[in-house]
Amino acid sequence: MENIIRTLRAERGWSQAALAEQLDVSRQSVNAIETGKYDPSLPLAFAIARLFGKSIEEVFQDPDAPVSKAAE
């Protein structure tokens, strides 16, 4: 699962630790999710999306998803 958390975090000037504090998870968790080493559960994914004011689909992308004709 790919995501744009690092970009969203950088836009707001937040460190990984600051984001982790707001999500009440460890800094290692944020790092693992950002680097794609760990896919969060749905509740955590919703919490991340909510924090950035976006939908889950905007934050997380499925690299195996078929490309729609509109996108082509």
Binding site: D24, V25, Q28, S29, P40, L44
Partner: protein, 136 residues
Amino acid sequence: MAQQVGFNAARKRYKRLYWPAIIAYVTACIGGAILVDKDTSPVWMTSVLAILTGAPLVFIMWLMLRHSDETDEYTRMRQLQAFAKGGAITMSAIWVVGSFQLWEVIPGLNVFWFGPFFFLAYGLTYCWDSLTGKTV
């Protein structure tokens, strides 16, 4: 088991009980070494000492599992993986050493030492996964 309370609260709850348990364990070890003589002390006294020494470690094992249950999902995954791997390594050591003892290749080894061995295996597995990049 308790419900998830979040990374920070779980860590505080763990530390609040972990340190008293460790102090109790060290006190029992040092106190026992000073006060009890294995050859002359009555059985009830050495039994009490054994319970006082072992109980904090059992409590810490329960504390580790409670912390895993309460912390965030990624930390829980890492801890339980290390717990499982550490447990598997310890069980393997018990079987190998036990087989050698069964065939009287080596003399008897106190079962007590498999406890510290588990904590060592747990800690090394936890660090190894971080160092090899399996986790962050």
